[in-house]
């Protein structure tokens, strides 16, 4: 109920129109092979975008998610190659992401530095750390069972899709039905008012960054599972599509606005655009420009609507 029905509907209609358009335009689009490949390709960005949604709602931003993804993937796979079970490796990856997120949150709130600057710094620090740790080489020889996380299916449904739905449900519950979520909106809407109301603003902001990191860590493990290596150079530039998904879905970089449904729609719009361009044989260069145009279009439509309501 955060956003008006119309605001939710417009991106959704765009997604539907895109879907139908692709079914008509290309014979290969509406096949289970293609659709499951779209789901697998977008899952990583989707999960990161859900974490980013929470951060953006508090009025913050996390530019370091691409680097966190790489570090989590490397540490997680290294755990597996040193003989620990696959699940332990995944846990290490997720935990790494969470700690990196908490570090971002703590730096932002304790040093009172703009999160754009803090996470720009940690983007470089964490990436450097991943490269040092692996000596710049991919982590190889990971156990075969690990591929299930990114490539497995349950009853014909990609496992990552199930995972995505569970996480989306959980983030939705956090945002709409918990104190933490309510405080996130309040902090993003007016940090001073939240502080004056006696809310522990720094604590809750830090926890939100931690959750974003945690989801990014999981995304890192999924990425590693799909590549079957731990790549210290993975995830470069992933922060941009993650932020774009939130923004296309109605989130505001000024804080206080955003939601799970919108972000998922935003991520899928970008996923379908890129898949559609592939199928239609459109050059990757043109693809990039198209997605860029969609971001600006989506946000400007949203801004117009808000202005009309005032």
């Amino acid at each position: 109920m955060r956003t008006s029905l119309w605001q939710r509907l417009l991106p959704f209609l765009t997604l539907i129109a895109l879907f139908i358009g692709l079914i008509i335009a290309t014979p290969n689009f509406f096949t289970s092979t293609n659709l499951s490949s779209v789901v697998r390709q977008t899952a990583v960005i989707n999960i990161m975008a859900l974490g980013m949604t929470m951060v953006i709602i508090t009025g913050g931003i996390d530019l370091s998610v691409g680097s966190i993804l790489a570090l989590a993937g490397c540490l997680g796979t290294m755990t597996m190659t040193s003989g620990f079970p696959v699940l332990a490796g995944i846990a290490v990856g997720v935990l790494t992401g969470c700690l990196a997120g908490l570090l971002n949150g703590a730096l932002t709130t304790r040093l009172r530095i703009n999160p754009f600057i803090v996470t720009l710094g940690t983007l470089l620090i964490i990436r450097g750390f991943a490269l040092i740790l692996t000596n710049g080489m991919p982590v190889q020889n990971v156990p075969k069972e690990f591929s299930f996380l990114g490539e497995g299916s349950v009853a014909g449904v990609p496992f990552v899709l199930l995972l995505l739905l569970i996480i989306a449900g959980a983030v939705h519950v956090i945002l709409e039905h918990t104190k933490l979520g309510r405080y996130a909106f309040a902090i993003g809407s007016n940090p001073d008012a939240a502080f004056y109301a006696g809310i522990p603003v720094r604590f809750h902001t830090t926890v939100i960054y931690g959750l974003c990191g945690l989801l990014t860590g999981l995304a890192g493990m999924i990425e590693s599972s799909r590549l079957m290596t731990g790549q210290p150079t993975a995830g470069q530039g992933y922060e941009l599509p993650a932020i774009a998904a939130v923004v296309i879905g109605g989130g505001s970089l000024r804080g206080g606005e955003g939601g799970v449904v919108g972000t998922l729609i935003g991520a899928f719009i970008m996923g379908l655009l890129s898949n559609g361009c592939d199928l239609l044989g459109i050059q990757p260069f043109v693809q990039q420009a198209t997605i860029g145009a969609v971001i600006i279009l989506a946000v400007s439509v949203d801004e117009l609507r808000k202005r009309k309501m005032v």
């Binding site: 109920m1 039905h177 918990t178 104190k179 933490l180 309510r182 405080y183 909106f185 309040a186 809407s189 007016n190 001073d192 008012a193 939240a194 502080f195 004056y196 109301a197 006696g198 809310i199 522990p200 206080g256 606005e257 009309k308 309501m309 005032v310």
Partner: protein, 494 residues
């Protein structure tokens, strides 16, 4: 006749802001525009200044029908507006701000010296207390207001609109604004002046027009109108200008502050507020009254002194600890520090009390809804419902929501900082009734106010502050002169 407005209508979506706006302004007069918040004053003025266009109605400028499409159109015709909130570029100088957007550039280069000279001429002409080369961010609110006025008159406007220019100014600064308005009037400029402060009127206005619910309900020379009649026109019902309070027997001390200091301003402040008592804090702007509230509420660290709530000495290092101790702070700037304007009213009300409607961090929606509805009804907030955004409410209703937040929290000690700033007469009476009600239920209330009649009629006793120290205590029913004497002239008692 300079300006004639008739039958002006303006709708925003489903909300009608103006139904029958009418106004006539002559050259060389000061025309007061009055009405409760949400009556349509600002909308009407925005239409005159070209910031919005009317849906229907007639707008005549010097007898000719006009339709201003932008503030620039209006400015070229000779109409300028002095805004309530400062719309200045803080890092530029006074001179640069005055001529911003109207620089006489030669091949894109701005001749600095010429700009400075012209600004100095303008400043001298009217005797503004400004330096043309000063940076605007270093100015006081009054100084910024002066720059706004310079900007409005830089091209010899023939009609100036002031939107509540003195709401954040001290007495002396207000007099300075009035002096300049009088000068403009003497030069034949028409002035429209929006204000809430009834006591300012007599000294400045010639004519008055009253808007109520988007309609012009009265217009006449100010001299023909008593204060009571004016209030009646504004609210459409009888309201006594000064609040009638019932005195309550006071209980034990709930808030005790001893020897509180915070350099450089606050020095050795001591006070006690009892259950059932409203303690007024008077003083001029800058005396340290808001700083005192901030220090008590744990926002600014104190260097010495103790604060005890209900007999227990507390170290309040953050609002969180103050709230946990039972304190509530209704700030003077509800838009900046009181409310999350982008969130629904209901969520603003429960913001400080989520622990009451949640378990293990999970919110119980029906319990939360019940809490929201209870206080919306109890405070008679005029809103579509708890889902309406707080930013869409009028000032008075926003203030009620800001207070409701602390009622829901069940706080026992309330710090009200300028509780009636920018709200209309009807809402003021309601806020006072609410404070009285709280006192009756055993709350201790500290009330900071610059409105002397309000302090005198609402507070049980008044402590007066000057330069960070208390200069004296006055009983209820003292005179405004007594307060002003302590606030402006009395040497500190310490």
């Amino acid at each position: 006749m300079l300006l004639e407005l008739d039958g002006i209508q303006k709708r925003f979506g489903g909300v009608t802001a103006l139904r029958k706006g009418a106004l006539r302004v002559q050259a060389g007069e000061v025309h007061l525009l009055m009405g409760e918040n949400g009556a349509g004053k600002s909308t009407l003025m925005k239409i005159v200044a070209g910031m919005q266009s009317a849906d229907e109605g007639r707008l005549l400028w010097r007898g000719q029908p006009v339709n201003f499409r932008s503030p620039r159109d209006a400015a070229e015709a000779g109409i300028s507006m002095v805004h309530q909130e400062s719309l200045l570029a803080p890092h530029l100088t006074v001179a640069e701000n005055i001529f911003l957007g109207r620089e006489t550039a030669r091949y894109g280069f701005v001749p600095r010296q010429k700009l400075l000279r012209e600004a100095r001429e303008l400043i001298e002409q009217y005797g503004f207390p400004l330096r043309a080369e000063a940076q605007v961010r270093e100015l006081s609110p009054a100084g910024k207001q002066m720059v706004e006025i310079c900007r409005a008159i830089r091209h010899g406007s023939s009609l100036l609109i002031f939107d509540e220019p003195t709401s954040s100014l001290s007495e002396a600064e207000t007099r300075e604004v009035f002096r300049i308005v009088a000068q403009l009037k003497a030069r034949g400029v028409g002035v429209i002046y929006i204000t809430h402060r009834l006591e300012e009127l007599r000294t400045i206005g010639d004519h008055v027009t009253v808007l109520r619910d988007g309609e012009t309900v009265h217009t006449s020379p100010l001299a023909d109108l008593s204060m009571d009649q004016l209030i009646r026109h504004m609210v459409g019902r009888e309201v006594s200008a000064v609040y009638q309070r019932e005195r309550i027997a006071r209980g034990p001390v709930r808030l005790s502050v001893q020897g509180l200091s915070r350099p450089p301003l606050l020095k050795n402040l001591s006070l006690e507020v009892h259950a059932g008592e409203i303690l007024g804090i008077g003083g001029l702007i800058g005396a340290g009254r808001t700083e005192l509230c901030r220090a008590i509420f744990g926002i600014d660290a104190i260097s010495s002194g103790t604060i005890a709530v209900d007999g227990v000495t507390r170290q309040l290092r953050s609002p969180r600890e103050a709230v946990a101790a039972g304190l509530a702070y209704i700030t003077e700037d509800r838009q900046r520090t009181g409310l999350a304007l982008g969130l629904p009213i209901g969520q603003n009300i429960t913001l400080a009390s989520l622990h009451r409607v949640s378990q293990y961090g999970v919110l119980n929606q029906s319990a939360e809804r019940a809490l929201e509805t209870r206080f919306l009804e109890r405070l008679r907030v005029k809103a579509a419902g708890p889902r309406q955004l707080a930013g869409r409410l009028s000032g008075g209703n926003q203030q009620k929501v800001a207070i409701a937040k602390w009622l829901a929290r069940e706080a026992g000690v309330f710090l009200f900082d300028e509780p009636t700033r920018g709200i209309d007469v009807g809402a003021k009476a309601e806020v006072f009734a609410l404070m009285e009600d709280l006192a009756r239920q055993g709350a201790a209330i500290l009330m900071v106010s610059s409105e002397l009649p309000e302090l005198i009629s609402v507070a049980d006793r008044i402590l007066v502050m000057k330069q960070g120290q208390f200069t004296g205590e006055l009983p209820a029913g003292c005179t405004q002169e007594e307060i002003m004497h302590l606030a402006a002239f009395k040497e500190s008692v310490h």
